[in-house]
């Protein structure tokens, strides 16, 4: 079960599975509710969803790091992972991302280094201010995907920290 920030701003557990009897039928679980629908992907990437209540939706869904951009029914929304979930994602190999576009001023860790929660991993400059990026938990630096002086865009994965057990 993955958790996303739902319509009311709180975390909402969301899963989907195929109907065992008909592969075009999908059962989506939103929190406590189950929604039955027919889902197809058009060759150009658009998702076509036929809901049981007769509604027919065309949705453009684009993955952008840990989040999704979704356009359907005349709105565009960003569906973000709920906080708890996104942290465990990082722990399981996700990237620590730039919170805003800016410049990487300095990298304070090395590959393979053990870090404690709250340790500064790197420092970014944006809007003429410095912003430290800190380790969200104790772990090991597995990847550094940027270098000093690089201009990075918002959401760019910069450092991957693997969470240490216990």
């Amino acid at each position: 079960m993955k958790y996303w920030i739902g319509p009311d701003g709180g975390a909402l557990g969301v899963t989907a599975k195929r109907s065992p009897s008909d592969p075009e039928r999908v059962i989506v679980t939103l929190g406590e509710r189950q929604i039955h629908l027919v889902a197809r992907q058009a060759p150009d990437g658009m998702l076509l969803l036929e809901l049981a209540d007769g509604r027919h939706l065309g949705a453009w869904v684009t993955r952008d790091g840990q989040r999704y951009w979704v356009s359907c029914g005349g709105t565009t929304v960003v569906v973000e992972p709920a906080n708890t979930e996104s942290r465990s994602d990082i722990g399981h190999g996700g990237g620590l991302e730039a919170p805003m576009p800016g410049k990487v001023l300095g990298i304070h860790v090395e590959l393979g280094q053990h870090v404690k929660r709250g340790d500064t991993l790197l420092v970014m400059e944006a809007m003429k201010m410095e912003h430290p990026l800190v380790a969200p938990f104790d772990g090991i630096v597995r990847e550094i995907r940027t270098e000093e002086g690089e201009m990075v865009s918002s959401g760019a994965a910069l450092v991957v920290v693997e969470q240490e057990e216990g």
Partner: protein, 496 residues
């Protein structure tokens, strides 16, 4: 004129390149490093690198532009809008190099560039200006006396200003001294000129401008108005023609004043006279001595191609139309798509356009400068594109615009798209109640972004089930297969 260098980027460079091709003229695009594969570069016959991303190293670098014009054999320069389009020194250097500057003369740019000189010229030409004081630089005490005469509320404005910099609203006499000092400081740092002037503050003005056009034979005509009142941070976001609720009598008087204003500076080429309208009175605000961002509004409603006319006039041909031949029909509306975050005070955003699908349909025009996959940086103006629609009536145009915006897909970069969708459905907009405070009056700030919808959550669940957007290729792995659509489709379906 055979080969035109376009000293600009983004949608306006694209617009001018297409016009040149139609006119049988060759084109030279210029680019900064991040723009090396941009749309305007792809469309031009030739392309030349200017320099690094910073505008001073690229699109504002006059030496480089003139050098590129020389080495590529260009015999004319189109400046677009922004950048060097209203820089008289650049226009003069282009002419001195023996090239054609596609725009007004340097003297016209200079005459309208200094706001104080422009106001005096307008007064002489009988064009109404906002009551105020725009005398020679005087002491703060003398300005205070003039402020009493103009009356409060008033605006302190920078003589060399624009975009709201060096501007202060003063509502009471005792706020005046501090406002003057602040305006001078801002003007000095932004424009290198601390000269300020005073103007009566109109409380609920509308911003209505007239398209004008002059040729080298001395003809000047006006091509109807554009209503541009809806602005945020002193930047326009919606423009339309005709202006709603503008009486024929006022429209006629304004049109005549617009022509008189352009004639006063012997204007050649495309220009815009901006007016403030307050009740039945109108006042000259400024002249933009260039093609405007919102020129398609006029093109769509009048059925004219203003860039073609610019190219013709620059070659010494007379205007392709007389004022009698101009027949406005129906209603045209433009909205500007900006890379900006309405929930953070409309601050510019950046990122990669992971998906970009402009809408299509009858009477829907998209003027854009970006394609899917392009990176939007904060080095340049955050405008991504313009969407222009036409309708037989304003009501039809508004409904067409709302439907088109609903089908606009922009992912990866935060934009004002949803803000525009709400704006064009607002009852006050539907009623044509546009004034310069429209957004402050009708939208509470900070603007709240639309929360995730149930439909969006369902779509995300299905996308995850289908493995949509998974980046790791599952099969092949050979370089040659990467762009095979069947291969791509196969990997998307691998989650089944």
């Amino acid at each position: 004129m055979k080969r035109v260098l376009i000293a600009n980027r983004g949608e306006i460079a694209v617009r001018v390149i297409r016009a040149c091709r139609l006119a049988g003229l060759e084109t030279v695009a210029v680019y900064s490093d991040p723009d090396a594969t941009a749309l305007h570069v792809r469309l031009a016959d030739r392309a030349a690198r200017l320099g690094a991303a910073s505008p001073l190293a690229s699109y504002l670098n006059q030496d480089l532009l003139l050098e590129v014009a020389r080495t590529t054999g260009a015999d004319a320069v189109h400046p677009g809008y922004g950048f060097l389009s209203e820089n008289a020194a650049f226009a003069r250097r282009v002419e001195d190099a023996g090239l054609t500057f596609i725009g007004p003369t340097a003297a016209s740019i200079e005459a309208m560039g200094d706001k104080i000189t422009a106001r005096k010229a307008m007064e002489r030409a009988g064009v109404p200006v906002v009551p105020g004081f725009h005398g020679e630089a005087t002491s703060d005490d003398e300005l205070l006396d003039e402020a009493r005469r103009v009356g409060f509320p008033l605006l302190v404005k920078a003589a060399s200003g624009g975009g709201g910099k060096g501007m202060r609203a003063v509502r009471r006499l005792d706020e005046f001294s501090a406002a003057i000092a602040a305006a001078r400081r801002e003007a000095a740092s932004a424009f290198g000129d601390a000269t300020v002037y005073l103007e009566r503050l109109l409380e609920e003005p509308r911003h209505i401008e007239f398209q004008v056009f002059g040729d080298q034979q001395g003809h000047v005509i006006q091509l109807a108005e554009r209503e541009c009142s809806i602005q945020r941070r002193h930047q326009k976001i919606v423009e339309e023609s005709p202006a709603p609720h503008l009486s024929d009598e006022l429209r006629r008087r304004m049109g005549e004043a617009a022509v008189a204003a352009a004639k006063a500076v012997s204007y050649v080429g495309a220009g815009t006279i901006e007016f403030l309208v307050d009740g039945d009175e109108f006042y000259f605000l400024e002249m933009n001595t260039r093609l405007q961002v919102e020129h398609p509004v006029t093109e769509v409603r009048l059925g004219v191609d203003l860039v073609q006319a610019q190219l013709a006039v620059a070659q010494g041909l007379p205007l392709p139309w007389s004022e009698q031949q101009i027949c406005p029909r129906g209603s045209a509306i433009e909205v500007r798509l900006y890379a900006e975050d309405p929930s953070r005070g409309f601050l510019p955003t950046s990122g990669v356009l992971r998906r970009y699908r402009p809408p299509h349909g009858p009477f829907v025009r998209h003027d854009g400068g970006f394609v899917e996959g392009d990176e939007v940086t904060t080095h340049y103006d955050p405008m991504l594109a313009k969407l222009i629609v036409w309708g037989e009536t304003r009501d039809q145009a508004v409904r067409r615009l709302a439907a088109a915006l609903d089908h606009y897909v922009v992912h990866g970069v935060t934009t004002n798209l949803d803000f525009l969708r709400r704006l064009v459905r607002h009852p006050a907009f539907l009623a044509g109640q546009t004034d310069t405070h429209f957004i402050d009056t009708h939208f509470s700030m900070p603007y709240a972004p639309i929360p995730a919808t149930e439909e969006a959550m369902i779509a995300v669940a299905v996308a995850e089930l289908f493995g949509l957007g998974a980046t790791k290729p599952t099969g092949g792995g050979e370089q040659g297969d990467r762009f095979n659509p069947w291969q791509t489709l196969g990997s998307w379906r691998s989650g089944r």
